[in-house]
Symmetry: C2
Subunit: 338 residues, 2 copies
DNA sequence: CTGTTAGCGCTTTCAC
DNA sequence: GTGAAAGCGCTAACAG
């Protein structure tokens, strides 16, 4: 086991002091160092195979250059992963690393990421909402904790009540509105809206958005079907709605998976889409594009959500300012199902 | 800005020494401490809001308790994310955190994760192959580097030549074999195999596995279609193969997305699946289950891949031993398309 | 412009 | 069983 090469070794070998080495390696400005010295030190560092000890550095600077990204357990959901992509792209540029955290509580009732922050393992937190997140009060409580302890933190897609924490949300109202609007412009006058029966801000906004578009139009009738969520198997629900198809010419479906399933069932029931019924989904990822027919969706700005969240967090860490809160619009992606 | 609470503060307040505090908080065995003292210290720590400084600890112990997971850029691929799930479940139990790394090279030609290891930010590395990873020599070179510097490292799904590094692979041969075998048992005698024309171990194994099953059977004819990869748009290729359909009664498709697209096109061309042609895919994730008809797949053991990789890495860090290399079998998941 | 030095907060050996 | 003290490798304030 051989000793680690430290900045001391580099300094000695190069015939300068440790401070000089530190200045050069960190590119500290406001210190002028002759190009010759600089070159020599860099060369020696390379030759000796010197590597910074990040813990020693962190100890001095009180910065770990890591950001915690919190997910509710399931890293597998495509929603999570798309947001992560946006976060990663921003943080890489800013020299931050991403540390995956859970929010499971420890014996003392604190979430893991709280501990990681207090231990200085991460400099800030991005919390991404999880699907079917019912318990908003719970999230609000977490936000309180962050606020109280002044922990740099951004809530992504949480739609919190608390206006003092940074938040980036998705404008589901807008999504519902433009989707319904599109159908109306296409001439549909009887529209069904299929949405899981959940008491979440997300679904509430969608219903409002869809309703708004309908209200603005003339002679358009809307039927909202609230699907009972029996362990995520909506088959029976969907079949019922499809049986009802004399009552409308188009369906808006709240979720991507639900939409795929709807198309599947339509195929099975020999219902022509979009001929007999047009279908549009208010979410859904690219994996859904090979449904038959290709699904028209209202794309959620997931990548953007990640980008904005990361930017806000980095800004906050660098100079904590006023709380930022924004809401990102959706984008229509019309393919073949309507 | 108030001073950080240190173990010194806790020690003073509790009337013991810092060493005692450390022993208690880390649950060090081989040191007997009266329950009364232990309780008092814990209580004081809680009251004062003491939190360990993880960098100071890491500096002493030379352990950062983080593992780097390397992905080639695209964290969005479902392949990556499923493996990650397995890794996460194991590492959480072992008290390790996951740090997402890229393998982009820095000015000095080292991948990011190499730097992170040398800086002691991570204790080991799990490298997950990326799809269509063509350049095996390149990967072998990375493996050399890890080996030379004795960096704890596991290569997941790389099929490296070097037997000295830990590796966990997927047995694509097995996947191809059981899929073909299933079709043969179902009575199919003319089988087509559609595979992207890539010179990778993965596709080579698949072809071998499928061929093997065909050879073992009597009177079965296999036609291999190598698809030219023009920017991942295989539509024309697939249509051609489907036009050829008098020549076979079943198709094996190498990739999940390709399979979805095949079903889509079959629908569009009014070809009945599995009536006219049966279809089975050698990969594909759960998002594909709402194709019409529901796609039969040979499931890749992605979660397991993550689990095994993480276990091997942790073992290696704790007591570096002989190189482990294993290959995980696939699993048939027969739904409606064959 | 460069060097000296004092810690950052922790663990752990060694003495008591 | 408990305590004193020696660093781990770095940065930044200060002195030269």
């Amino acid at each position: 086991m051989q000793r680690r090469i430290t900045s001391k070794d580099v300094a000695k070998e190069a015939g300068v002091s440790r401070a000089t080495v530190s200045y050069i390696l960190n590119n500290v400005k406001g210190v002028r160092i002759s190009d010759e010295t600089r070159g020599r030190v860099l060369e020696v560092a390379r030759k000796l195979g010197y590597h910074l000890d990040i813990h020693a550095q962190a100890m001095k600077t009180n910065r770990s250059m890591s950001i915690g990204v919190v997910s509710r357990r399931n890293v597998t959901e495509s929603r999570f992963v798309n947001v992560l992509g946006g976060i990663k792209d921003v943080l890489m540029k800013e020299k931050y690393n991403i540390l995956l955290c859970s929010d499971e509580l420890d014996e003392m009732g604190y979430p893991e990421y709280y501990r990681l922050y207090q231990s200085k393992k991460i400099d800030g937190i991005i919390s991404i909402s999880y699907q079917e997140q019912l318990n908003i009060e719970h999230a609000d409580k977490r936000a309180e904790l962050m606020l109280k302890e002044r922990i740099p933190c951004v809530f992504a897609d949480y739609h919190l009540k608390n206006p003092m924490v940074h938040s980036v949300d998705i404008n589901y109202y807008h999504g519902g509105y433009i989707a319904a609007r599109h159908l109306i412009e296409k001439g549909h006058r009887e529209i069904a809206f299929m949405v899981p029966n959940l008491d979440t801000e997300q679904e509430r906004q969608r219903i409002q958005g869809v309703s708004k578009a309908v209200e603005e139009a003339e002679n358009v009738k809307l039927t909202v079907y609230k699907l009972k969520n029996s362990s995520n198997d909506f088959e029976n629900n969907i079949v019922e709605v499809l049986m009802d198809r004399k009552k409308y010419s188009a369906i808006i479906v709240a979720w991507g998976l639900l939409a795929s399933q709807t198309l599947y069932l339509a195929n099975r029931m020999k219902i022509n889409v979009p001929g007999e019924i047009a279908v549009i989904s208010l979410a859904g990822d690219s994996s859904a594009i090979f449904t038959y027919p290709k699904l028209s969706t209202c794309e959620l700005p997931l990548y953007e959500l990640g980008v904005k969240s990361a930017q806000i967090l980095v800004d906050d860490i660098n100079s904590s300012g006023l709380p930022v809160s924004m809401s990102l619009p959706c984008k229509l992606n019309i393919r073949d199902s309507c």
